[in-house]
Subunit: 341 residues, 2 copies
């Protein structure tokens, strides 16, 4: 029996290989929402060089790791990170129970609902707001609440759910990389749990491939004795700047081959990735399309911002180190899937 | 062209399904090193129920998560956790440069090389020893050194490399679970980086599927400007007891379906896993085979130990909650791959 099975398996593997090779031969454009040009061809060249056996730049499948920032890289982050819009809604609820919050900063700014003021909140203030809104929640309840919130909440500019505001060219890039044996990870400065709620449905990235900022948690029990994890008021992981590299080490334990970001918070991740041996790819999404999305820098004379800052020095470093700066305006044919073709 | 490809793909998928079904029909024993009996049949029943479509206990492939402790569950941990044997060798080197260490505890005990004294070191003392041995190393250098050490160091009882002292029945179980669509993870109280060095070669578990205790690290640069992560003198993750549940949440973000451990440090992991909806499997390896390996508890009257303590209360809890206690003596036909058949 064993020999028959073995021969049969060999035939199966053989026909399977023929199937795959034939499908691969019938090439279609894997990145249809990208304009033809240097950026698109550089990506395709890189992937072909690193995945073609026999190529001097070939990377074994087990080492094909690609890490993506989320806010501003895979979906819209302006005028404010989506996660904080959820947190602000919780602050509004809390303020109904504790009216004194209405007079105290930074909550007063949140409750003012003035987009200009809100966009000037510093990372430290945002941290205080998140700690106040989330401490003591159990993670299961949190995940459920975020999931419900995402089904209801809409971005006022496009009148779309936030999960619809993902960049179509990046969704194509994720699929293209996976089709070529890359394992795709999200490494976000935002909350790990928040992104995990929708990452599989929206990006095809399962929860175990999402790193992010994360509160300390406490192992505890409900009154009925069910074990739960409660959110504590301090950060365990601040997954931004050098913290992104520590996050990659903790979640993946390997140096990525490709890293993609869009702001100064992604600088160290790109530096780390491109410091590896062999071919490496670092890319930064540059928001230079005021008409179809937003334009902010302050690099290249675009308006300054607290949300997704892209400084001139990061821009210059990218040029010097051959990191690709993706121009949303010039490199992307289409930004959102709901746009007319 | 598109339609041809599509039809061709369908034929491929169809032949592929036939291949897989036929292979599945020709059943062989996936767990040959397990004695026939209740433990083995319970494992097989569980896997069949959770992976057979249409079964009321069916679990979708994306949720098939199995977490394994390492020391004492997948490989030998007595008389001392292997990771610490490496750390002790580093302490010996350091003591040559700093002779004062020879008179100070807990280093004096380490340098005495007296197995009895060493086996009484407390977790706090072991932590001091690890911090002293590893602080300031860069992770890349650490990984390289561990890899070299594992090639040389041998266990004196069996005169084998430590990576040969893995339990053959558990290696079979890992393969069996993966063959049935389970994703296997290690969740160890030991060092995450240490285990990652060999986990793929030894267990078929890639680094990104290993959670463990982990020091804080600092993003820094070599003199030549290459980015590195330096080990800092405090733990970021203490992946033991309730910390294992926090570790699972951080690395995986899902409640496992199966958890396997061997000591009180695994209690919360099993409690958490088996608190989930639907069928769940909790198992504990019980070291009751003094002849072929070691016998320790103190459960069931076996000798007490600081290394892999299995208390009577854990044993009683396992019985009460239908967690399977795997008897090494009775359930395993063979313990190591190098044993004669």
């Amino acid at each position: 029996m064993k020999n028959t099975t073995s021969l049969f398996s060999k035939i199966c593997i053989l026909s399977l290989s023929i199937c795959f090779s034939s499908v691969a031969l019938s090439k279609t454009d894997s990145l249809p929402s990208w304009n033809d040009g240097k950026t698109k061809s550089s990506i395709i060249n890189f992937v072909e060089k690193t995945t073609t056996e026999g190529s001097p730049n070939f990377v074994e499948a087990k080492d094909r790791i690609a890490t993506f920032d989320q806010d501003g890289t895979l979906w819209v982050e302006h005028p404010m990170y989506t996660q904080f819009l959820y947190v602000f809604d919780r602050i509004e609820q809390l303020a109904k129970e504790q009216p004194k919050m209405k007079e105290a900063e930074p909550f007063k700014t949140v409750l003012s609902k003035d987009p200009k003021k809100i966009s000037k909140l510093t990372p430290e203030q945002l941290n205080i707001i998140a700690v106040t809104a989330l401490t003591g929640m159990d993670l299961e309840a949190y995940n459920k609440e975020v999931s419900e919130w995402l089904k209801k909440a809409k971005d006022p500019r496009w009148d779309k759910h936030y999960t619809e505001l993902t960049y179509q060219p990046m969704v194509e890039l994720l699929n293209y990389l996976r089709d070529n044996g890359y394992k795709t990870f999200i490494v976000t400065g935002g909350g790990q749990n928040f992104v995990r709620v929708y990452s599989n449905d929206v990006y095809g990235i399962p929860p175990e491939q999402v790193m992010g900022s994360s509160f300390m948690t406490k192992y505890s029990y409900t009154k009925a004795g069910k074990p739960i994890l409660l959110i504590e008021p301090s950060l365990l992981i601040n997954d931004d700047f050098g913290g992104k590299v520590r996050g990659i080490e903790l979640l993946i334990g390997k140096k990525p081959i490709i890293s993609v970001g869009n702001s100064t918070g992604d600088r160290e991740m790109l530096e780390y990735t491109t410091s590896g041996n062999g071919l490496r790819l670092g890319m930064l999404v540059f928001h230079d399309d005021e008409v179809r999305e937003y334009a902010y820098g302050p690099a290249q004379g675009l308006p300054d911002t607290e949300v997704g800052t892209f400084t001139q020095s990061l821009y210059d470093e990218a040029m010097a180190k051959n990191w690709i700066v993706i121009s949303m305006k010039n490199d992307w044919k289409k930004i959102f899937s709901f746009e007319a073709q």
